[in-house]
């Protein structure tokens, strides 16, 4: 089938503008990224600069692919990363608008590639547990209730792709940060440092210039891992507890 692509190009000869690539021959079995591969092969053969976009595992688990497709982060499918969107969901002659994630804290590097290192710095500020190294202990030495483990895992499913920031009208990173805070705070290993962690991670999130959550819940709707905004409430509880009850220093 033939599709028209309208893609944001930025860098090199492009100053930040949409370029239309009409009548691209697309196989419905292709994934979205394979379609972009086909476009890039054509562009290279025409001695044109290929479209820069990020990808890695192409299995929907790494969080590297991004893209805002027709106004939605990771495209129109619920709970799906861009790499798992297949072209069979599109129709002959359709025009697809492809934009990079937009946020002041995610500056565009080139075309559709944005710098998401702000997330790395939020993780560095507190998204870890401190344990003594040595022999690995027995897996069942710390009993964890099944429901608790599942809840933690639901939060841990966050792949840190940044779709929440892209979807949020405020470019808030609260769904991401709260998923990381929740994932660790819900387990005994992470429970010990939870107050210090939430203070540090929220302070870093604010320092990176992300917006403030106004409970629009667009993040939850567009998250490829369907992380719930319940985590944001949990982070707020953790934060209020850390500020008003703990003696931990504010970041």
């Amino acid at each position: 089938m033939k599709l028209n692509l309208k893609i944001w190009r930025q860098g090199g000869k492009y100053k930040g503008e949409f370029v239309t690539y009409p009548n691209l021959d697309v196989n419905p079995d292709m994934s979205f990224l394979e379609m972009l591969d086909v476009l890039n092969e054509q562009l290279v053969s025409q001695r044109e600069e290929p479209v820069a976009f990020e990808h890695d595992c192409r299995e929907g688990i790494c969080g590297t692919c991004s893209l805002v497709i027709d106004g939605q982060a990771h495209g129109p499918m619920k709970g799906t990363t861009t790499c798992q969107v297949h072209m069979r969901h599109y129709h002959e002659g359709e025009t697809i608008v492809i934009e990079p994630f937009r946020a002041q804290s995610f500056p565009v590097i080139k075309d559709l590639v944005v710098d998401r290192s702000a997330f790395d710095r939020i993780i560095q500020s507190g998204g870890y547990v401190s344990v003594n190294t040595g022999q690995a202990q027995d897996a069942n030495s710390i009993p964890i209730e099944k429901e608790q483990a599942s809840k933690s895992f639901d939060a841990a499913a966050c792949i840190g792709c940044g779709a929440c920031v892209a979807a949020c009208p405020n470019s808030s990173a609260m769904l991401f940060t709260s998923a990381k805070v929740s994932h660790l705070a819900l387990l005994p290993q992470g429970h010990v440092e939870r107050q210090k962690r939430v203070l540090a991670m929220v302070a870093q999130m604010d320092k990176e210039g992300f917006g403030k959550c106004s409970n629009v819940t667009a993040c939850e709707a567009e998250c490829p891992k369907e992380i719930s905004v319940e985590n944001i409430a949990r982070m707020n509880r953790e934060y209020l507890g850390a500020v008003f009850v703990s003696d931990k220093k504010m970041g």
Binding site: G71, Q72, Q104, G211, L240
Partner: protein
């Protein structure tokens, strides 16, 4: 910076300010509505004027009303600041294709609703509250007091005979309803109150509140206009 100002300037702290001042304002609206419903009594404003005198002379209520003025301003200023900060966080380049799910519309327009409500509030205070405060309203005898009280019923009844003003009032109440529709649930979520057991209840009460309270306010001018 002290720990407390660090908290108030953090993203969560700023949202908590919106939430707590918002909850206070929502409680106030119920009290305000109960008072306004006195207008529906067919007693020439007797009950309403008694209520108005009580509200402006009881020391406890006077103290609460000063906090109310402060909280309205705090809610408005903090809201504008958040709006600006959030627009800046989004950056200068907007998405070419906007995708908004219907359930997000109120949340995305909170600032606009807030601005309309603030303009309404200024007009509202100037029209009724300021006249009462300046003591320019004619005195009237009521049964509950052994002295005459200000007749606040007069300007209210006059305003509600103006069709244009009645329409404006009702439209503003619709905006208040939309603001509350998101604000009620949102203020609990910000405080971390989200739990499978009671979140459906909070959302349910929020919808009932957001419909019933503005509807209650809007019925009064419509009723008084029709009853002439």
């Amino acid at each position: 910076m002290s720990w407390f100002s660090k908290f108030l300037s953090s993203s969560i702290g700023q949202k908590v300010i919106m939430s707590l001042t918002g909850i206070f304002l929502m409680l106030f609206l119920i009290v305000h509505l109960l008072g306004n419903l006195q207008l529906l009594k067919d007693d020439g404003g007797e009950a309403f004027n008694t209520y108005a005198f009580f509200m402006t002379h009881n020391p406890l209520i006077k103290t609460i009303s000063y906090s109310l003025y402060a909280f309205i301003l705090w809610h408005a200023i903090q809201g504008i600041r958040l709006w600006q900060a959030n627009k800046a966080a989004r950056g200068n380049v907007r998405y070419a294709v906007a995708h908004t799910r219907p359930n997000e519309r109120n949340a995305r327009n909170m600032a606009w609703f807030g601005i309309i409500i603030f303009i309404f509030l200024i007009l509202h205070l100037w029209q009724f509250w300021l006249q009462m405060k300046m003591g320019v309203l004619p005195p009237v005898e009521v049964e509950a007091y052994d002295h005459p009280v200000q007749n606040l019923y007069l300007p209210v009844a006059a305003a509600f005979q103006n069709l244009g003003y009645v329409i404006f009032y009702v439209v503003c109440m619709v905006v208040v309803g939309l603001h509350l529709w998101h604000g009620f649930w949102s203020s609990f979520q910000t405080l971390g109150i989200n739990h499978p057991r009671y979140t459906p209840l909070i959302k349910g009460i929020g919808v009932v509140y957001a419909v019933a309270v503005p509807l209650g306010f809007a019925i009064i001018p419509v009723w008084m206009y029709l009853m002439g």
